[in-house]
Symmetry: C2
Subunit: 479 residues, 2 copies
């Protein structure tokens, strides 16, 4: 028990210091390890297993919507990166450059991809000729590099893993439909698999992607009231097509430019899973992406029959769930803490008395509720509880977001809300970047998005300058 | 029909020019596209889908043998790469260096990983403390970069995709067992999934991995009689552990160095699939890794009921196989060529007459045999034929390898064999690197491996110098 307590006390309580709590979780739950490479982390097996579950399910959603995976080179020649003006301006300051290869100085520098629009454009120019070649619905899973000044595990690292979808369409309408379709795929995925509710909306021009006509985003809210941009979908119109000369002949034999989109979701989302669901005992993982959904802890393991029964249950439950049995010689209390730290949704305790009664105890990670279950109905009961945990996590996160979202009509209300009531602040905006800049400077809050579900607050005046408003905006401090 | 013919004629016959045949296949079957990045290719959807099938099955074999996936940074600081002397000597000449990040010159150069031993060692040093922490059985799927002078799609590219396993063990015996286990996993995978027979053996010191005590390899033989190293497994002993200080306390509380292994298989194997099974009509894919196992081509598609029946068969077969239906308005002859080019193992033709007879025609890609099948037993028959194709491809490749493997006792016989009978040449070797070098210079053949199944040829004398031999070696020209 002493060992048990010591173990738990190592985590900084989240209300005391959320930043340290986060760092404690990512290291003590063995999600990451710092490396000697500046701003880069080792993604350890437990974290990578979560990412594999994210990949598997999201990839299936991409394929179900007609997308194909490809792989592009990781290097972009400097001249290629420079082809689209806004794009290079946005990314050039934060890239890593390869200047020497095989002991020789290169004639042209190669940047390590920060994103791959330019490579896809070059490829699309080569393979798109006729309207019969459209649409092209490609995606790739890879790592990208952005030379960030300050980094934090998952949230902002110099190298991160992601998927980037890149599509080409015959018309502007099709490109817009794709942009929205993939934003919805992200939103559905976050809500259904990660139990994270999101606000869907459009970014302001200031916050949009370098080279995009319009950027759409899903924004989620962390436990500490800060926002996290969790996935974005961009409509490029024909901007890249004109810069790269990507044209096709339409049905009337006329040359037309394609319309393009791109969309991405990264290991950043791991930070959201931690900060939306975690608590002072560690991670809390949604069952649908948890590497281990149920852990079996034998009680009084030395007693005859206990370990056999535990093995039997593992084999039985393993057919339906991702199950682990911890039969190490550590004491049960230590194990309880360990798997709470790791956020395993359901713990199964089985000891001599349980076996006598043909039952076991299930303990929920989210509520710590103990449930006594007959072994005869174990699979059904475990499935039911896991479903309930998945749904409860979502509802809890949604309630938290709703409880911490305020509305502000006056600038005083706005400043007070940002300062004293962490969470989203809804307020009207005139559409002028100057007001966005002033708000950021005064409060540290940035425009998260113009939500699809628009409202009018007060007299429809900009919360900052008082002029006629153009849109309702979700504001907030953000990661 | 004219269109059909033209399509096929675009491939250079393999006996006329094998190199051009290969290049034709990789581009015309839409496997790769050249990019403006020197030595890097775009891996197109069809090739990437093959790679995904390779990944899925190989990854399952890794997990079944207790391995976990992780992700390490893609950059290695120069000082870290230099920690193990042999390793850096082997790799430093062929790496790409990042020297500028975020517009600033870096204090220390970062190399883009050519392989990740050094990063795993640094990580293992941090996380291995006690014998309880062993073994560590890690693997990662990623891309690596080697600054190659001449490149060819899949076979030798500056960047390629692969997996690299890295393990740490308590004893030398365990490390050796792991090295052999993973070589066997590779061999089983190649034989069972890719239908490629391999020779398993040990590399000579000249050919072993930089930093390894021993390198094991699986060698396969291409249609043109050249060998391809298809996967390698290395035993590092405690060399890296000593260079990086990776120690654990054993059960007697004594500090010990760990023993390590690494093993890798890359997209290079895609080249083997092409060059072992392909023919003058294009790719021939083993059913177990073919993205499309069966393609349905409707005949006289305009006739009532044909397309409906084709859709119905697609739905039926889709439950058991990876199926595609081509209902485009191209003529059947064009489609036949197209899917032959793509190596789809089985073609199903269905037209009005077939429907009348409640049957269809199945055509094998490998033998072109036409098989009339009742629709009532379609699934069973298709499964049986696909199994037979998988087995036949393996047998055919094995026979080809056996037919083209010669033995040489004298140096004259050896030179004649290499020059005039493409394929492996078995010959005795004294163990001296000088003889290896001479053989390579005289004939272009390199030592492929010292096979596990050793034999003694002639009087057990080195084929080159005539001294007492130490081992039988498989020699050959190689990719």
């Amino acid at each position: 028990m002493a060992e048990d307590k010591r173990f738990v006390e190592e985590i900084t309580p989240m209300d005391e210091d959320f930043t340290r709590w986060y760092t404690d979780i990512v290291t003590k739950a063995e999600l990451i390890e710092y490396s000697s490479v500046r701003g880069c982390c080792v993604i350890r097996p437990y974290a990578y297993a979560i990412w594999e579950n994210i990949q598997k399910n999201l990839d299936a959603m991409f394929k179900a919507t007609g997308h194909q995976n490809v792989y592009m080179p990781m290097f972009i020649p400097e001249s290629l990166l420079q082809r689209e003006k806004d794009h290079v301006e946005g990314f050039a300051p934060e890239v890593a450059w390869v200047t020497v290869g095989g002991n020789e100085k290169l004639a042209e520098r190669l940047c390590v991809r920060p994103t791959s629009e330019t490579l896809f454009c070059e490829h699309y120019k080569n393979i798109i000729h006729s309207h019969r070649d459209l649409p092209k619905l490609y995606n790739q899973w890879c790592s990208v590099v952005r030379w960030e000044k300050t980094t934090r595990p998952f949230l902002r690292t110099m190298e991160f893993l992601w998927q980037e979808g890149h599509t080409a369409h015959a018309t502007a309408e099709e490109a817009q439909a794709e942009t929205e379709r993939m934003l919805n795929v992200y939103a559905d995925f976050c809500e259904q698999y990660l139990a994270i509710p999101v606000v869907k909306g459009r970014k302001t021009d200031k916050e949009k992607f370098a080279g995009a006509e319009a950027t759409y985003t899903i924004e989620s809210l962390m436990h500490d009231g800060k926002a996290l941009q969790s996935g974005t979908s961009h409509n490029f119109g024909d901007g890249f097509a004109r810069a790269f000369g990507i044209q096709y002949t339409d049905k009337n034999n006329q040359l037309q430019y394609v319309h393009q989109t791109s969309w991405g979701l990264s290991t950043r989302i791991m930070g959201a899973i931690i900060m939306v669901h975690g608590d002072d005992s560690g991670l809390v993982l949604p069952p649908r992406i948890a590497p281990v959904q149920l852990v079996i802890i034998p009680i009084a393991m030395h007693k005859e029959g206990v370990l056999d029964k535990a093995e039997e249950l593992k084999a039985r439950l393993g057919a339906s769930f991702r199950v682990e049995l911890d039969s190490s010689d550590k004491n049960p209390g230590w194990k309880f803490s360990e798997y709470e730290m790791k956020g395993v949704p359901l713990r199964l305790e089985i000891g001599p008395k349980d076996i006598e009664k043909n039952s076991c105890v299930l303990v929920r990670r989210d509520t710590r509720e103990k449930i006594f279950v007959s072994l005869d109905e174990l699979e059904a009961k475990a499935a039911e509880i896991l479903d309930d945990i998945q749904a409860s996590l979502y509802q809890k996160a949604l309630k938290h977001r709703e409880d911490t979202t305020s509305s502000a009509v006056t600038y005083e209300e706005f400043k007070d809300a940002v300062e004293n009531r962490p969470g989203f602040v809804k307020a009207m905006w005139c559409g002028d970047e100057e007001c966005e800049n002033k708000i950021k400077e005064d409060t540290g809050a940035t425009s998260r998005c113009m939500p699809f579900e628009q409202e009018v607050l007060g007299d429809n005046k900009c919360v900052c300058c008082g002029r006629e408003a153009k849109a309702l905006v979700y504001w907030g401090r953000a990661y």
